[in-house]
Symmetry: D3
Subunit: 167 residues, 6 copies
């Protein structure tokens, strides 16, 4: 078992500059990082699983020790199957703290070998939430500084369909 | 530079069952853990630096990848000198969150190569604070379950001097 | 008016080990506890009111001073009609705190005779939320330790209909 | 540019006694306050934009330096167009704090000239939320003390249609 | 064992209108309330134990089911000796929540029969802290509304000795 | 009475880049800002009142609508005497929130004409606390980015007396 492989799970709908900052920093600490895009058929997302995986692959292509995968099921099942034991999560704020605590504890209850490591989001990225970004874009604003350019372009396509039609 | 060595700094006055739980879990994830006992001449502690180091060495003796050191100065200076770049910290609760965020950010501002990883304290240890333990012992209570037995013995010696004299 | 009867209201969708722990402890303090299952026609629940009442009756059958009822309406109206004046609520974490504060204050504004007493959920149960349990079960995981066995069985029936069909 | 005009944005679904208290206090500090009723076609509200604007106009009619407008779009776009640069927001509790921090930061990222000023809701109004008020009214309770009388009347019309029919 | 006797412990340095509000409400719920004034020789207080007990006796004299005692030692030891098992505490805000959670858990670890019940401080009293009151009085301000009149008088004697001398 | 004069009170021991950022932003919103340096004989500060006033005067000299004063007493008394009614405060994080809420409420209780306006500290300054800065400097670190250069120089003189002697 490779001790220094970590799984970085999320819905990444969309993948933000904050997520990218975590990856950039983690890439220098861990041997391998698997970005795991969750797809849950009961939750509606703006971007499809395929679109999210494809955007993350493009945005993280300079990091040779980063892989992107998708899964549908319990995170602990994925982790056991892969033979890794460490989850990496970013934490932005107080409300994240409580949710993350709950998830880390639940995962540990389901498999006591699983550990979760947290990195704190750097302050300039700490006020970026996926839902806020989507609201700004759907109201016609710019998400520059919040998401990488390719992600913004894709979100505009999805959230402002009238613009696409006009072109 | 060894990517998987982490420094676990603290005042450890005293080292609790909560700290020990973090070490036990971290020992399975990282190649080497350096427990770094801070000694700051301007802060009064119940246990001397020497006593704290000695208790931690005893309590963690079964973990072959754990070392105990002490330092006096800025953590980032220690880290640079040692050639490590990763700090490990436990997080128990909301009020920890804000303090840890501040420290992690300050350390990053002083040396942008430094990263801090957090592990969440398991729930049964999450309500243990060093000051509460010392208050319980000084009022004649038992700290069993809060600190390892050797630590409790030493704290009783320090905080209930009258008992020692009576013996 | 019986001063030591308390009403323990909730949606209990589902009733968890955390709820059961509150009941077990409260049963030793108060003369009678009425577990009040709220049913609000505008909110969709996984378990019907009848199923929830029936599961709670089974799970709490060893406590002779515990009764289970359901209601549809304002809690203060129920309380006034019953002649009790004390509400019991569990509190797990910071985000509970704010919601509970709001509810306790609102109830007091509507009837200043009404008081709310809180018990803090024990740490091993503090990271259990109803929505997390349902997510784990729907993804094929085990909720052992989170909910009593009869509750888990019923949730599997509801949330994994394909399994039922296969049998 | 008028330095002392502030925009007080919100969905105001409904406008509460807490909002009114902020306006009463702000009216003594700022030269002009524009209450800006957001209408977002993708979010369903209980009261229509027209109803909300009309209720607020009536409730604030004694304040000569208060105006009521509605908008559909990004707040920073409205602000730029109007030539104001200061947003006023009320803050009730911890969970407000995080959301408000996120909004203030996002607005500043989109237009660095924009500033947000906060007033803390007075304690007797700090536990009033729009969703709680609507729940109380729909369950047949009284919202006296939570919302002005005309607002309560309108909400009863909307949330208890059967009463209206019976009359 | 009397199930409805509760112990209300604190340092009460000084006893505030917020404390009095908790007592007034609790007096209607519990059969007997013992206000327990902690005296810890290692902590310096503004008012002596004797002064605090005497002020609380005076201020609560209209409640026939309220007693005032003082203790020096572990709360769980007092509780066991008295044969009660329930602690009552007020909770004002988020930062109280974390401290109270820690104390309730520690007390339960030391004696698993001990339960802590919480009442939420009413909003008009929720911003009153003992240290703030003492700061206001020492700077020459009035603490009317924060503490009962007899308490304010005593605090002025203690914290503005020059006034006493001048008289 | 001038509606747009605000008082920005604090101990400013030391005045940080975070404080300066608030002043820079407030200078564009309000007609006049009085920075009020509190001096309380019972609280020990690293820098004297005179030193703090002098440093702030130097650091804010480019803002023509900013004045620096010092006071000893209750803030509401100063405000009444000056004929202003609005306090400005910065808010960095959750723990600030609770303290600020308490102070704003207490000031309002003592003089109901007094209002407090808050500005949220920008994220890059939100992890700067006066005590952390002093700890870093006393341990030999650099506070560049945390405090203006003249403030750092003065703190080094105060907190590393041995360096001064060696020169």
């Amino acid at each position: 078992m490779n001790k220094t492989t970590v799984v970085y799970p999320g819905s990444f709908d969309p993948f933000t500059e904050g997520h990218l900052n975590i990856i950039a920093r983690a890439a220098g600490i861990f041997e391998k990082i698997i970005i795991l895009v969750g797809h849950n058929s009961s939750k509606k997302t703006t971007l499809s699983t395929k679109e999210r995986v494809s955007l993350i692959v493009e945005v993280t292509k300079d990091y040779t020790n980063v892989e992107v995968e998708s899964f549908n099921g319990l995170l602990v099942d994925y982790i056991r199957k892969k033979g890794v034991r460490t989850i990496l999560r970013g934490m932005r704020c107080h409300s994240d703290f409580e949710y993350e605590l709950q998830m880390a504890t639940a995962n540990k209850l389901m498999d006591k070998e699983v550990e979760t490591l947290f990195m704190v989001t750097e302050s300039q990225f700490s006020h970026i939430s996926s839902s806020l970004i989507k609201e700004i874009i759907s109201l016609g604003g710019s998400a520059k500084g919040f998401v990488p350019a390719v992600v913004e372009k894709k979100l505009i396509e999805k959230l402002r369909p009238e613009e696409k039609r006009r072109k």
